[in-house]
């Protein structure tokens, strides 16, 4: 069997539709969860809340050293046994979000560490309440430092969204597999799926590199 352009073009709209509706949505929501939760983890560890800080560190180490796929299966197949049934997409966003939050926590921490000590001292001297110190002084500087690193993890997460196919989310890879199963042609669907990923991730990585250059220039 040879490559058929007409078949490749015919299936493209279907692939793109599922790519937009599931792959991209899961990436955006997963990144949002990871960015917020990662910041929460980092702050818990930074202000050293007793017990909670140690528990967070242990949790982060564990999640980072175990496969995403098994974490997703745990959420999808084991939680219903404990009386908690979640939709596949919800599990996907939650799984990706928590997994990457554990990576982002470290990124935030290095960003917070990089804020000069004088900034903290100035906040104390100005009698700023802790909340204002974090919101108006520390975090704006910390987040700008780590924006490129966070972007990298967002791209890494994007490339791991096909894992969601295995918990029945009808994203790009799942759709390609379905088309292959229906037509007994796997070559075009999988090739097109890979190319769609390349077409989306490569320009984003280039943009990010430029953003990093710009932020570094300040």
């Amino acid at each position: 069997m040879n490559w058929s352009w007409s078949f490749a073009v015919e299936i493209l709209p279907d692939l793109l539709e599922h790519f937009l509706k599931y792959t991209l949505v899961a990436t955006v929501l997963g990144t949002a969860v990871a960015a917020v939760l990662g910041l929460v983890f980092a702050m818990i560890r930074f202000v050293r809340i007793p017990v909670l800080a140690q528990a967070t560190t242990a949790f982060i180490e564990f999640v980072r050293s175990t496969p995403l796929l098994i974490q997703l299966f745990f959420l999808f197949y084991a939680l219903p046994g404990m009386g908690l049934t979640l939709s596949p997409m919800f599990v996907g966003v939650l799984g990706l979000g928590v997994h990457y939050a554990c990576y982002m926590a470290d990124v935030y921490r290095s960003g917070i560490d990089a804020v000069p000590k004088g900034q903290w001292e100035a906040s104390v001297a100005l009698q700023l309440p802790p909340r204002t110190t974090w919101q108006r002084v520390v975090l704006p500087q910390a987040v700008r430092n780590v924006l490129p690193a966070l972007g990298n993890y967002a791209i890494a997460m994007f490339k791991e969204t096909p894992f969601l196919a295995f918990i029945t989310v009808p994203e790009l890879l799942h759709t390609a597999r379905d088309i292959g199963g229906d037509t007994f042609r796997y070559l075009e669907p999988f090739t097109m799926a890979g190319l769609v990923f390349l077409a989306a991730s490569y320009p984003t990585a280039l943009l990010l590199r430029r953003l990093e250059g710009r932020l570094a220039a300040y």
Partner: protein
């Protein structure tokens, strides 16, 4: 079979699955390191075509998601007449994908060896082969070990994907346990613990390797460094 299987009864099955998981992990890691060195050196070649080929290969395998590559090698390649054995398809997909990431690590580490070291090697009239093997590489290797370790762990953590290409790996065995009516919560937790323990063992070994490589350079590290945990760095942006 009477009743759902217990976790203990399933251990021999899991060990059998783990054998396949480790087989693919070890072979893919070897392929990954070889490719990383070749592509990494090519990517800093002075010849444009050589550099161009390396860049295209690196960006292609980094840009097209790993699960898609894996299924492509196993399901799509037979359509053009290459039927790959499942283990081989797994080794190829993991090796190529992480080899592309590893190439950037190798390139970055070699570039990080200070310029005067290169110049001194030239001044001492060393051949370019001697310069690389006696001066540059011994200093580049300790620099690349932490980032390489991250990639080794990431590769290992991706291996549950093998169940999708019909390999009887540890994940497949875990799934069989669930289908047989076993307690899936306990099984998934056990699988995570297995991965966690092996990932930590690998990190420990790589810390040893890093200390040994630094010792050759006269930099001694304390015993504490052995028990350092990983400091992940995002792999996307090139150094």
């Amino acid at each position: 079979m009477d009743g759902p299987p217990g976790l203990i009864d399933w251990i021999p099955n899991l060990l059998r699955g783990l054998g396949n998981t480790m087989l693919v992990t070890v072979l893919a890691t070897i392929l990954m390191v070889v490719l990383a060195v070749i592509l990494g050196l090519m990517a800093r070649s002075r010849r444009m075509p050589v550099r161009g080929v390396a860049r295209v290969v690196i960006e292609f395998f980094r840009g097209t998601s790993l699960p898609i590559q894996l299924l492509w090698f196993y399901f799509a390649l037979p359509m053009v007449g290459f039927q790959l054995n499942a283990i081989f398809a797994g080794v190829l997909a993991f090796g190529l994908n992480y080899g592309a990431y590893g190439a950037e690590v190798v390139r970055g580490a070699i570039n990080a060896v200070p310029r005067p070291q290169w110049e001194a090697a030239t001044a001492l009239n060393l051949s370019s082969w001697q310069r690389m093997t006696r001066v540059v590489w011994p200093q580049a290797i300790p620099l690349m070990i932490p980032a390489m370790n991250n990639l080794f762990i990431q590769l290992f953590k991706s291996t549950p994907l093998l169940f999708a290409i019909t390999i009887i790996d540890v994940m497949q065995m875990g799934e069989a346990f669930r289908f047989a009516g076993g307690n899936s919560t306990a099984m998934y937790l056990l699988l995570m613990v297995v991965y966690f323990v092996i990932a930590y063992a690998v990190t420990f070994l790589m810390n040893l390797a890093e200390a040994a490589a630094k010792k050759r350079l006269g930099q001694h590290e304390g015993v504490r460094s052995m028990f350092r945990t990983r400091k992940p760095v995002p792999q996307e942006v090139t150094p």
